[in-house]
C-alpha cells in the first residue's frame, strides 16, 4: 500500500495560483468556466495579463462590488464582471476570430478527462438523454496556442481523470499542454506525461496509483 497520511493536496486557490505563475508576462488569456475563473485573482507581481471573454470583451477586470452588477457586462460563465481601462467590446465573430486565429496565448479549461497524449474531454459525458452543450470549448482548443487544464486529479468517486484514452466524447485531440490538479502539475508532450511538481507529501507512486495513464518524472 502507498503511504497517504502526510498528503496535503493543493486547494482550488493554490491550483489557480500555480496556473497563474506559469502564464508569461503580457499574455492574452482566456479563462474557462468554473475553477479557471479563480486564476484571474492570482496575477504574479510584475506581470500584466489581458483577460479575454469569448462573449465579446478583452480586458476583464475584478468582480463588481455587490449591487453594482450590470446584466449586460458578463463573462463566458454569465457572471457579472467589470472592464478595465483599455478594454474593448466586440461581436462574437470578431471574438472567435481572436480565438480561432491563434491570437490568444493561453487558455485555462476544466476537464472530465485528459488522455496521455493530451486529448481533452470536457463537454459531454455521453450519457443518453443528457443535453449536449459545447459552448466555445472546441474553438478554444483548436485555436489557442497553449492549453492549460485545471481539474481535481480524480472524480468525486475516486476514478482517475488522467487516462490512457478518453472514454467520453472528445473536445480536441492532442491539445493539452499542461495539467494542474490538486496533486500535481504534469506536462503533456509527444513522449508522454511528465510530472513537474507534486503537492506536499505526494509521492510518485501515490500519484501514479491515482492516474490511469503512465507518468514519467
Amino acid at each position: 500500500m502507498v503511504e497517504i497520511q502526510n498528503i496535503k493536496p493543493w486547494n482550488r486557490n493554490e491550483m489557480a495560483q500555480k496556473v497563474a505563475a506559469d502564464i508569461p508576462d503580457g499574455s492574452y488569456v482566456n479563462l474557462g468556466i468554473g475553477i479557471p475563473e479563480l486564476v484571474a485573482s492570482f496575477v504574479p507581481e510584475g506581470r500584466e495579463f489581458m483577460y479575454h471573454s469569448e462573449n465579446g470583451l478583452l480586458g476583464i477586470g475584478p468582480p463588481p462590488q455587490p449591487g453594482h452588477e450590470d446584466p449586460e457586462l458578463i463573462n463566458a460563465g454569465k457572471k457579472a464582471v467589470t472592464a478595465i481601462p483599455g478594454a474593448a467590446y466586440f461581436h462574437h465573430a470578431d471574438s472567435f476570430a481572436m480565438i480561432r486565429g491563434k491570437h490568444i496565448d493561453v487558455c485555462v479549461l476544466g476537464a472530465f478527462q485528459v488522455s496521455q497524449n493530451g486529448d481533452l474531454a470536457n463537454w459531454s459525458t455521453g450519457v443518453p438523454g443528457g443535453i449536449p452543450a459545447v459552448g466555445g470549448a472546441m474553438d478554444l482548443v483548436s485555436g489557442v496556442k497553449t492549453i492549460f487544464v485545471i481539474t481535481q486529479h480524480t472524480t468525486k468517486e475516486g476514478k482517475p481523470k488522467i487516462v490512457k484514452e478518453c472514454s467520453y466524447p472528445l473536445t480536441g485531440k492532442a491539445v493539452v499542454d499542461r495539467i494542474f490538479t490538486d496533486l500535481a502539475v504534469i506536462d503533456v508532450n509527444k513522449r508522454g506525461l511528465f510530472v513537474r511538481e507534486m503537492a506536499p507529501g505526494v509521492s510518485f507512486d501515490y500519484l501514479q496509483s491515482k492516474t490511469e495513464a503512465k507518468l514519467e518524472i
Partner: protein, 239 residues
C-alpha cells in the same frame, strides 16, 4: 418628404411579418442582449414551426424559454442549451418535442457571419477529431485537417441594442453586443428593439456597429425587462 424610416411604433407591428416555418436568429448570450420583448411579441403573434438559432436555449419560463414552451419552435440551433435554469428546453428535448443542432460557439458565430457576407461555406479547425465533425466533409490544407461548415442565414433576426436611428444604424451596450451584429447581417429582415431611438446624425459614424443597411425594422423598448429579475420573481410569459 419621403424618407428612409425603419422605425415601427409597436412590438406587434415589428414581428407581424414573421411566418410559420421561418428561421429566426435570436440575439443574446444568456440574458445579455436577449430581446425579451420581441420574443414575447412573437409569442403573442403565434408563428409556429420555427427554427431558432441562438447561443442558448432560454431560462425559466420567459423569453426564448417561453417561446419554446409555447410549442412554436421545432428546432434549436445553438452552442449551449444546458444551464441550471434551462428547464423548458431540457424537458421538451427529452420528450422529443424539439430538435437540436449543436454547433461550437465560434463556428456558430462564423456560420452566421458567412451567411451575412455571401460566403456559402468555409473550412475551420474547430471540432476536428470530435463527434461534432463525425459526418462532415474534411479537407487537409497545409498539412492540417479542417472541417467544411456551411453558412447560416435567417429569414428574420430578433436583436436588442442600446440606441438606433431611423436609418437602422445601431450601437450596443457592452457584452450585450455578442451575436447582434452578425445576426442583423445574416437575416433577410432584422428586427431590432432599441432602448432608445435617436435622431439621425446623433450616433458617431466612427462608432456605429451595425450600419442601417443590415436592419429592416426598429422599435423602441425603453425599459426592457431583465431576464434574471423575471426569473427571481418566478414570472411566466404569457403573464
Amino acid at each position: 418628404m419621403v424618407m428612409i424610416n425603419k422605425i415601427v411604433e409597436t412590438l406587434e407591428d415589428a414581428v407581424a411579418v414573421i411566418n410559420d416555418g421561418a428561421t429566426v436568429l435570436i440575439g443574446g448570450f444568456g440574458e445579455a442582449g436577449s430581446p425579451i420583448e420581441l420574443i414575447h411579441a412573437l409569442i403573442d403573434h403565434g408563428a409556429k414551426n420555427l427554427t431558432v438559432v441562438s447561443n442558448n436555449a432560454g431560462n425559466g419560463h420567459v423569453g426564448l424559454a417561453a417561446l419554446i414552451e409555447n410549442k412554436q419552435v421545432s428546432k434549436m440551433v445553438c452552442s449551449f442549451p444546458r444551464t441550471a435554469q434551462s428547464v423548458v428546453f431540457t424537458d421538451m428535448y427529452r420528450q422529443g418535442l424539439v430538435e437540436l443542432e449543436l454547433v461550437p460557439q465560434g463556428t456558430l458565430a462564423e456560420r452566421i457571419r458567412a451567411g451575412g457576407a455571401g460566403i456559402p461555406a468555409f473550412y475551420t479547425p474547430t471540432s476536428v477529431d470530435t463527434p461534432l465533425a463525425a459526418n462532415k466533409e474534411k479537407r487537409v490544407i497545409n498539412h492540417e485537417t479542417f472541417v467544411l461548415e456551411y453558412a447560416i442565414k435567417g429569414d428574420f433576426a430578433l436583436v436588442k441594442c442600446k440606441a438606433a436611428d431611423r436609418y437602422g444604424n445601431l450601437v450596443y451596450n457592452k457584452t450585450a453586443r455578442n451575436f447582434g451584429p452578425v445576426m442583423c447581417m445574416a437575416a433577410r429582415h432584422a428586427i431590432v428593439q432599441a432602448k432608445e431611438i435617436v435622431p439621425v446624425g446623433t450616433l458617431d459614424p466612427e462608432c456605429i456597429v451595425t450600419p442601417g443597411i443590415f436592419v429592416s425594422k426598429v422599435v423602441e423598448v425603453s425599459n426592457p425587462a431583465e431576464e434574471s429579475q423575471l426569473l427571481k420573481e418566478n414570472r411566466r410569459y404569457p403573464w
